[in-house]
């Protein structure tokens, strides 16, 4: 039985504000030591953070370690946590710091054996991973390759804006740039992505003709 009244349209700005206040309530409960809220927080954010981390530096184990450390820290320091305006922003910012810490630590560890390979490894293996995921069946998958063709910072801002819908103010603070350059960076990133995509599609079209 469904009555036709009270149709609730989940328009994005509305849902957004709503989830933000939901997140804040969840955060409050975590601070008070509610373990159900803590597991909800993990369920809600772990994969968003993981996706961000993987585009930041492709190293599955490292990114998983960072997710683990972030949530462990939150719970262990729950009493000292401050109230936050945007839980998502707080998590992404802390997570990014952790990622950088881990990457620099790893790089120091391996720099004797293997000079500066970390970053270039990051770049190429995303592509490999994505290609291996069976996504190369049709043209849609071109973007997976395309994403690796744009710069690291362009990719980062796409993940923050497109996948996580953070505000420009939040993004600029996370990436330590001005809001204006965040705007520019994003539009450049999407522009590049479109060009790369078109080129890839055109390439496959030529292949098809040949």
């Amino acid at each position: 039985m469904s009555s036709p009244v009270n149709l609730f349209i989940s328009r994005s700005p509305k849902t957004d504000r709503k989830t933000q206040s939901d997140d804040r309530a969840l955060w409050q409960s975590v601070r008070k030591g509610n373990d159900l809220a803590f597991s909800n927080l993990y369920q809600r954010f772990s994969n968003l953070l993981f996706n961000y981390g993987m585009h930041f530096c492709y190293n599955r184990e490292l990114v998983k370690d960072c997710v683990q450390e972030l949530f462990t820290n939150i719970w262990n320091r729950r009493e000292g946590l401050s109230e936050v305006d945007s839980v998502k922003y707080y998590l992404f910012k802390s997570f990014r710091n952790l990622l950088i810490q881990h990457i620099t630590r790893d790089r120091k560890l391996y720099s004797d054996m293997n000079e500066d390979c970390q970053l270039s490894e990051c770049e190429s293996s995303v592509e490999e991973e994505l290609i291996s995921q069976d996504y190369l069946k049709d043209n849609k998958s071109k973007v997976t390759t395309a994403l690796t063709k744009i710069s690291k910072r362009q990719r980062e801002i796409i993940v923050l804006k497109y996948f996580n819908d953070l505000s420009y103010a939040e993004i600029s603070s996370i990436m330590s740039i001005t809001p204006a350059s965040a705007h520019n960076l994003l539009s450049k990133a999407l522009q590049c992505l479109r060009v790369v995509l078109k080129a890839l599609l055109f390439g496959s079209y030529l292949n098809y003709l040949a």
Binding site: M1, F8, T19, S46, N47, T144, L147, R194
Partner: protein, 339 residues
């Protein structure tokens, strides 16, 4: 909703790609989004190309998402749990080694449990069922409560200890009151349309009849996953949400949940509910046949509440509420036209 609408007329491809409402439409086309965007396209014919490109970009971007698989998620969660339960750091002599061993123990015991389960203890399948006109309350092995509505069936395997989740299958309608477990083992309800409702502890109603699944959440939070075009869609429901999944499309509404859950207290709450809807319910729950002389009559609505008794009693009340004549022959009811 009008004041919230962005002014899409000046949008570029980039603006569309990062607009959440546009993205929702591309990824999970539901009737509300479809209606809005089809209209918009019709009134902005010059933007068709632009919309198409934005659509392609969104579809493509979605493919570049990298996620942990469920077992990785559980492992990381397990690691967090074992980290946070340890005493303060200064008393740890060799943290890495200890962590390795507790991890190894966890893996080994998990493997043992799995082997034991596989070789010796094939789980028993348990089935609860209700007849027409009957509602029944059951307590599950984890002491969660289920109230089964008429003509419904609940099945599960009695092996929840050591499983990833507590899985149950539902046909018909049921109200769940799920107990939260200390180890956060999720509770999962699966319907015949491959919709999975995943919760930790909460209250909700599931309706799954004739190619349709409908979930109403009373309190807490649940995650719904359902198949959309060969992949999986996911939504997080909030209290008061109703999500309907039908023909590979979902729709979300805000509802007064008591309208959907009152049956468990043997009361039917009506809020401008049409006679047609009431008849569908009566057919499903009482297994009776109902015919009518004129379809027009089904559009009449009523509000209020009425007790749920047996079929004869129910139809008698319907005739009084709607002021109509209902003739009963054996298991068949005929709704007459008003004179």
């Amino acid at each position: 909703m009008n004041h919230q609408l962005s002014d899409y007329s000046n949008f570029s491809v980039n603006d569309f790609v990062i607009d959440p409402f546009f993205k929702e439409w591309v990824l999970y086309s539901d009737p509300i989004h479809d209606e809005f965007w089809m209209d918009w396209k019709d009134s902005n014919p010059s933007k068709t190309e632009l919309i198409e490109e934005a659509r392609r970009l969104v579809l493509s971007l979605e493919h570049s998402k990298i996620e942990m698989n469920p077992s990785e998620m559980v492992l990381v969660w397990g690691a967090i749990q074992s980290e946070v339960k340890q005493p303060p750091k200064f008393s740890k002599p060799t943290p890495d080694r200890r962590f390795f061993w507790s991890f190894a123990y966890a893996v080994a015991s998990f493997a043992l449990v799995f082997l034991a389960w596989y070789w010796y203890d094939l789980p028993q399948e348990i089935e609860y069922q209700t007849a027409f006109g009957e509602t029944k309350e059951f307590i599950l092995p984890d002491s969660s409560k289920v109230i089964l509505n008429s003509n419904s069936k609940l099945t599960f395997k009695d092996n929840w200890e050591g499983q990833m989740s507590r899985d149950v299958w539902i046909e018909g309608e049921a109200f769940f009151n799920v107990v939260h477990k200390k180890n956060h083992q999720p509770f999962k309800v699966l319907s015949s349309q491959n919709v999975a409702i995943e919760v930790l502890g909460t209250e909700f109603n599931v309706y799954n009849r004739s190619q349709e699944t409908e979930v109403v959440l009373t309190s807490g939070a649940v995650t719904l996953s359902f198949p959309v075009k060969d992949k999986e869609g996911k939504i997080l429901m909030n209290p008061g949400d109703l999500v309907e999944f039908k023909q590979s499309k979902f729709q979300r509404k805000k509802v007064n949940t008591s309208l959907y859950t009152s049956w468990k207290d043997k009361v039917l709450n009506l809020d401008e509910t049409s006679l047609g809807e009431i008849i569908t319910m009566a057919k499903n729950n009482y297994g009776i046949e109902i015919e009518f002389e004129d379809e027009e009559i089904l559009k009449q609505t009523a509000s209020g509440s009425m007790p749920l008794g047996n079929a004869a009693n129910f139809m008698d009340q319907i005739s009084r509420i709607f002021n109509i004549e209902i003739v009963n022959e054996k298991n068949k009811y005929l709704i007459k036209n008003p004179k």
